[in-house]
């Protein structure tokens, strides 16, 4: 079992890379496998819970996260400036162990966050990125993967449409997908039909992040599973999706 730490850390960078979307880089000697996440907080008692964010990237000086401002917690995170402190618990979750052979990494919206680390660690990975509007950080992916396919619902900076429409599992040995439920279901359908194993990263509200509180449990074919500890990465056929 990996060692987990809870530490205060200095913000190195918190840059708005697209409207409402921030790249946060935090100082320190952090580690993580692809698909793992940290619980972050930069406030005292309110809101009580920390916010789970996937590790976007690791470098010798720190760890970075890519997040969208959705509610109160992410809004508070977005107000951090370099030099400010936050507290980070992690790395958490099983992460994605990667597989042999040709792999497709499919991300929709903020679902692209856990894919960069995967692209870095899987030798033969193709990347499929879907954006609602103008794409961002595509260059980061191009640095580490040969083939990077980009879609955009508006058609700006990529093929117009949805990434789940563009993507085809043919020829891959495994896929890893991350994004909104609709997209995951669509990708799952294609992979099932093509007989390609698909891993997905799930999201659930979390309190402890460590597997202790059972707040993030989801029903799966094998019984209740904790997204924070048994996941967040599951084989697509495991969770009981409503639909």
């Amino acid at each position: 079992m990996d060692k987990v730490t809870f530490r205060r850390a200095k913000v190195l960078e918190n840059r708005e890379v697209a409207p409402g979307i921030f790249l946060l880089r935090v100082e320190g000697d952090h580690s993580a496998r692809p698909g793992q996440f940290y619980m972050l907080r930069a406030w005292e008692l309110d809101p009580p819970l920390s916010r789970p964010l996937s590790v976007f990237d690791l470098d010798p000086s720190g760890v970075s996260f890519l997040y969208k401002v959705r509610g109160r917690g992410t809004r508070l995170l977005s107000r951090l400036s370099p030099g400010d402190e936050l507290a980070a618990l992690g790395p958490l979750g099983n992460g994605w162990k990667g597989v042999e052979g040709r792999v497709a990494l499919v991300g929709g919206g903020l679902g692209i966050a856990p894919l960069l680390l995967s692209a870095k660690s899987v030798p033969e990975a193709d990347v499929y990125l879907g954006f609602p509007g103008k794409p961002y950080l595509v260059e980061e992916f191009r640095k580490v993967a040969e083939k990077v396919y980009v879609t955009s619902e508006t058609g700006e900076g990529g093929e117009r449409g949805l990434v789940s429409d563009l993507f085809s599992p043919e020829g891959y040995d495994a896929c890893f997908a991350c994004g909104p439920l609709g997209m995951l279901k669509e990708v799952a359908k294609k992979c099932r039909e093509a007989g390609v194993p698909l891993y997905v990263s799930l999201e659930e509200r979390m309190a402890c992040g460590l597997g202790a509180c059972l707040g993030c449990t989801v029903p799966t074919k094998g019984g209740p599973r904790r997204v924070c500890k048994d996941g967040p990465v599951f084989l697509a056929e495991e969770p009981c999706w409503d639909g």
């Binding site: 008692l45 309190a207 059972l214 993030c216 989801v218």
Partner: protein
């Protein structure tokens, strides 16, 4: 030298700060983060006779300085606990208190009997879970408390703690527990509370009502402890909204023999060892050797 150890309800603890049931799993999860042997004790997730899958998501909902939960007592059942979890828990170097929940008084008795023959250090009867649909037990009702505690007492050699809800006739329920042979009272569990998801126009949880915990409830939980201590002979274990040594000290000054920390673990996962250290430092700074001198001083 400061000595934080305390005898509470038939059990000697190395310090008075205990992880509250349901927030600390079976201890091993937090052991990845720090040495949980620093704790006074760990209350297990609430155990039932049979495994329970718990409630559908969402199970958590934030409120101002508070946390609503609707876990629904997901747990592997008492047998799996005894076989798989307890041996590992025993290796953690701290007291193990088995928190149990029955659908009927007889189920409580059966659980208490089974655990009494095991290696746990104490048993805590959860008479107060707000979010189990089948939950017919009302821990705030003295007659029901008396019945359950009496049944368990007869089959249980271990220290028997009774965890009450913060609502209802708490004092009378506690006195009923006292008369029926309990060794200590834990006050309290969560408050019955509600959140509505205004996007959906529906309660946030499938089971509608959830249990409110966290800093928000601290002043009410503290009042409950203060009032119980005035009337009870049994030691009281304070619980509700504790996140700092200052909070813990408030409960001790209100007369609590020990405290439990639940939601505090989510706010700061290192919360309990910090509280233990904070209490020791505070005592040392005043030249005091133990908590005896301050316990109940606010009465």
């Amino acid at each position: 030298m400061v000595d934080l150890s305390v005898e509470v309800g038939g059990l000697r603890l190395k310090n008075p700060v205990i992880a509250a049931a349901g927030t600390f799993g079976f201890g091993t999860e937090y052991a990845r983060l720090y040495d949980v042997g620093l704790l006074g004790g760990i209350c297990t997730k609430g155990l039932t006779l049979k495994p329970r899958p718990g409630n559908p998501p969402p199970r958590l909902w934030e409120t101002p300085c508070g946390l609503l939960n609707s876990i629904g007592l997901e747990n592997p059942g008492v047998e799996a606990f005894l076989q798989e979890e307890l041996p590992r828990m025993r290796g953690l170097g701290t007291a193990v208190i088995a928190n149990i929940w029955g659908e009927t008084p007889e189920e409580y008795r059966e659980l208490a009997e089974r655990l009494s023959r095991s290696d746990v250090d104490a048993i805590e009867l959860n008479l107060s879970c707000p979010n189990v649909p089948g939950g017919k037990i009302r821990g705030g009702v003295p007659e029901e408390v008396a019945r359950i505690v009496g049944l368990c007492r007869r089959v249980c050699e271990k220290p028997l703690w009774v965890k009450l809800p913060p609502e209802g006739d708490v004092l009378e329920a506690a006195q009923a527990a006292e008369r029926a042979g309990a060794d200590a009272v834990t006050a309290s569990n969560t408050f019955r509370a509600l959140a509505i998801d205004i996007e959906k126009g529906r309660p946030a949880f499938a089971g509608r009502i959830g249990g409110l915990s966290g800093p928000a409830i601290k002043p009410i939980a503290l009042r409950v402890v203060y009032e119980l201590v005035q009337k009870l002979k049994l030691p009281v274990i304070g619980c509700g909204g504790i996140t700092s040594w200052q909070d813990a000290l408030e409960f001790i000054m209100a007369g609590a023999h020990a405290v439990q920390v639940g939601t505090g673990n989510f706010i700061d996962p290192l919360c309990i060892p910090k509280i233990v250290r904070g209490l020791a430092d505070w005592l040392a700074g005043r030249g005091m050797e133990d908590l005896e001198g301050v316990r109940g001083c606010a009465h």
